[in-house]
C-alpha cells in the first residue's frame, strides 16, 4: 500500500503513514477550522490500510503541541478504525508524546484513551527535543 504523506502547515500537522518504513506519525499542530475535512484523506487511507495490512505489530506516534476540539474528534474516529486491528490479534501501540510540563495534554490523551478503551503510552518530551 502506498504511503500517505501530508506536509505540515501553520494550522495542520504533518501526517506520515508509511507501511514500508512502519512509521505512522502525526506531528505538529492540529487546529484546522474544519478538522473533518483535513483528516478525511487519512481516514480513507486507514480504512484501506486495515483491510490489507499484515503486520503483527503497529505503533502509532502522535506528537502534537496543540489540538482543537474538531481534531480530537477526527483523531478519535481514525484511531477507532485502527483499533479494530485488535480483532486480527495485531499488537497495537499508541504513543502519545506530550510536553513534559503540559498536564492538560496528558489529560487530553487520557480522555482519548478512555473513550477508545485502549491504553496509550505517554512519552514526555522537552520543547527543544
Amino acid at each position: 500500500m502506498e504511503a500517505l504523506f501530508v506536509p505540515a502547515t501553520k494550522s495542520t500537522p504533518e501526517i506520515n503513514f508509511n507501511p514500508k518504513t512502519e512509521r505512522y506519525c502525526i506531528t505538529g499542530r492540529s487546529i484546522p477550522a474544519d478538522a473533518a475535512d483535513f483528516y478525511h484523506s487519512l481516514e480513507k487511507w486507514v480504512e484501506q490500510f486495515v483491510l490489507v495490512q499484515r503486520a503483527d505489530s503497529i505503533t502509532i506516534d502522535i506528537k502534537l503541541d496543540h489540538l482543537n476540539t474538531g481534531s480530537v474528534r477526527s483523531l478519535l474516529s481514525i484511531l477507532a478504525k485502527i483499533i479494530r486491528l485488535r480483532d486480527q490479534e495485531v499488537n497495537l501501540m499508541i504513543n502519545w508524546h506530550h510536553d513534559v510540563e503540559d498536564e492538560d495534554m496528558v489529560d487530553k490523551g487520557e480522555e482519548m484513551s478512555l473513550i477508545l478503551e485502549h491504553p496509550f503510552r505517554f512519552i514526555p518530551f522537552r520543547d527543544d527535543e
Binding site: 501553520k10 494550522s11 484546522p32 477550522a33 496543540h66 476540539t69 474538531g70 474528534r73 474516529s77 473513550i115
Partner: protein, 179 residues
C-alpha cells in the same frame, strides 16, 4: 451587532491589544494565532500557559466561524477583542450574530457548563465526545464551549444582545487566568 455603546467602549479602550470587526475565516484565525505568538508577553509565558491561551482563542474564533448562520442581512460580521489585563490575565471578548430562536438552546448549554465542576466538566466532555464518535457527527454540539470553559478554568460569561428582526448577537466575555 453590538450596541453603539459597546462598540464605542471597545474602540476607545486604549489598553486593547487588538480589536477586529468582520467575518472570521480560517486565514484570519491563523493570522490571529501568529500575531499572538509573536508577542513578547506571550513568549514569556510557560509552554502550558501558551497552549491554554491559544486553545481558548482558537476555540472561540472557530466557534464564531462554525456557528454564524449563513445570513446576508444583518451583516454576519463578528467581533473579536483581546486585552492583556495584568501579568497573568488576558481578557477576550468575541461574538457573532445568531438566530434568536436558537438562543435558549445555547443558553442552556452554557448554563450547564457553568455549573459544572472541573471533574464534572471533564465527564461531560468525554460523554459528549463519545456520543459524537458513535453517531459520526461532524458538529461540535457544545464541545468547543466545554473546551473554552476548561481553558478559562472557570465559568464562561456571556450576553445575548437583541438585534432587529429574528437575530441576536451572542457575546462571550472571558478572563483567561494563566498560573
Amino acid at each position: 451587532m453590538l450596541s453603539d455603546a459597546d462598540v464605542k467602549e471597545l474602540l476607545t479602550d486604549t489598553g486593547s491589544d487588538w480589536f477586529y470587526l468582520g467575518d472570521v475565516s480560517e486565514d484570519l484565525i491563523s493570522s490571529f494565532v501568529a500575531m499572538i505568538e509573536t508577542r513578547h508577553d506571550f513568549q514569556m509565558l510557560s509552554r502550558p500557559c501558551r497552549r491554554r491561551l491559544l486553545s481558548a482563542v482558537v476555540e472561540c474564533l472557530q466557534n464564531i466561524r462554525n456557528n454564524t448562520p449563513p445570513i446576508t442581512s444583518p451583516s454576519p460580521g463578528s467581533v473579536v477583542y483581546m486585552k492583556r489585563q495584568n501579568t497573568n490575565e488576558y481578557g477576550l471578548r468575541c461574538g457573532n450574530v445568531m438566530f434568536t430562536k436558537d438562543v435558549d438552546v445555547l443558553k442552556g448549554k452554557l448554563d450547564n457548563i457553568n455549573i459544572a465542576g472541573v471533574d464534572q466538566l471533564k465527564n461531560m466532555y468525554v460523554d459528549q465526545m463519545e456520543r459524537s464518535l458513535l453517531n459520526g457527527s461532524r458538529t461540535n454540539a457544545g464541545l468547543g464551549l466545554m473546551e473554552i470553559a476548561r481553558a478559562v478554568n472557570g465559568p464562561i460569561s456571556y450576553r445575548f444582545l437583541p438585534l432587529k428582526g429574528e437575530y441576536s448577537f451572542f457575546c462571550l466575555e472571558l478572563v483567561i487566568t494563566l498560573n
